[in-house]
Point group: C2
Chain length 227, copies 2
């Protein structure tokens, strides 16, 4: 599903070069459930952005479902991303002028889903994430955890093949965080490939496979043993 | 230091009224170390914003150091806030066009601190929070946890009397989170009044006093017993 070989991604700030990804190789099969941990600044968001076709590598290769996407033109990447990937951003990136429900509906509209089906799906995720009585609120009228849940609802409503979640419970209390994880794991059991960046070791432990990043490389890659 | 009596804060969205604070009373003495937990949407950020003079009550009273501040005019509140309070926002509110160092320096400039002293203090917090080689980066060139640390550095660099921190470790790995807590607790031992909103029960347990919010009210208020 996801195959990254010798990835490099550097950024330049003034005369300083930051090697955010520094020789990272990773294979993820369809349907896997992977958690990604590592120190602040170790490259987790950068890795997720590359996988999610939101950023390009400086060097190395990225194959998505067998197709080399490393140097595809932007419009092609955008179309591929919309069809395949759901992304929960570390800082949500909700559209300020749209309500929670409109934010969630937007990717469905862009995908050409008809109005009745859109409406059904939006209702369903609003209920699932406990947002029904916040549907009309704009992001600035929501609490931090409510915004986070809107971001997660938006990422899952298109029924993507791959879900990339960058710290999806960072602003949620223990109870809401667990509810979110159960919803995502339910989708995973239905076939979703799930990659989750988290700083919470208890959450990371729920995945079948745990990856640790340090300084833009994979330091450790643990698979849970089946008994 | 902080005295809130029968606080009400409601918001109106269309014809819906949200009671974010709903009869909340709280007293915090100078030098206390208090953690605040509660479900997503229970009113924690709203409470912190009211205490931090960033928001006003709809009803009830707020006394800060014995002075009734409930209905002070905006410019007076702003001056009082700058002199007394450091605020770490749940979503940082860094200034996009300024570098990390400039963001941290800004409150010192507004306070009329001379250039040499500003420069010394900025250097000191950059080092303390592990940001020295990110000083020139703008917020969009920083990782989530690096931005969070810039927000904390900015809130502490003015040496405030009260620090209000809204989930200050939500984007930090365990190690960086612990380092931040040690720095804040060091300031507390020096006399700082410290109020910390967190979803992490282990962090909340470090405080001398633990408050639990539910539906805009204080449900529980536990003081650690001295042995
Ligand atoms: N646009 C950019 N320009 C310059 N440097 C960048 C840029 N984006 C990220 N970086 C740097 O690249 C490194 C990796 O960033 P990244 O956001 O991937 O870290 P992270 O592992 O997600 O950290 P966190 O846990 O704090 O969110 C960081 O040191 C960061 O300063
Ligand atoms: N500007 C606003 N307009 C309307 N409703 C608001 C506004 N700000 C907050 N609210 C509502 O008030 C309630 C309390 O919000 P608050 O941000 O204080 O919650 P919180 O406890 O900080 O939650 P979280 O843990 O998710 O950050 C929420 O239900 C939220 O939807
Ligand atoms: Mg990140
Ligand atoms: Mg909040």
């Amino acid at each position: 599903m996801i195959e990254i070989v010798e990835a490099q991604r550097h950024f330049q700030v003034g005369d300083q070069i930051v090697h955010a990804l520094n020789g990272l190789s990773l294979e993820v099969a369809a349907g896997e459930y992977v958690s990604i941990m590592g120190p602040s600044g170790s490259g987790k968001s950068t890795l997720l952005n590359v996988i999610g076709l939101l950023d390009r590598l400086s060097a190395g290769t990225y194959r998505l479902r067998g197709e080399d996407v490393t140097r595809l033109p932007d419009p092609v990447l955008a179309a591929l991303r919309r069809q395949t990937i759901g992304f929960v951003f570390q800082f949500f990136h909700l559209i300020p002028r749209l309500s929670a429900a409109e934010n969630i509906e937007l990717p469905l509209t862009l995908a050409g889903i008809p109005a009745e089906e859109r409406s059904r799906r939006v209702e369903q995720v609003l209920t699932a994430y406990g947002l029904t009585d916040r549907a009309r609120h704009r992001p600035d009228q929501l609490s931090g955890g409510q915004r986070q849940r809107v971001a997660i609802a938006r990422a899952t409503v298109t029924q993507p093949q791959v879900l990339l979640a960058d710290e999806p419970t960072g602003n949620l209390d223990r109870h809401a965080g667990r509810e979110v994880m159960e919803l995502l794991e339910h989708l995973h059991r239905g076939g979703l490939t799930l990659l989750l960046v988290t700083h919470d070791p208890e959450l990371a432990a729920r995945a079948n496979r745990r990856i640790y990043l340090v300084d833009g490389k994979i330091e450790r890659d643990e698979h849970r043993r089946r008994v």
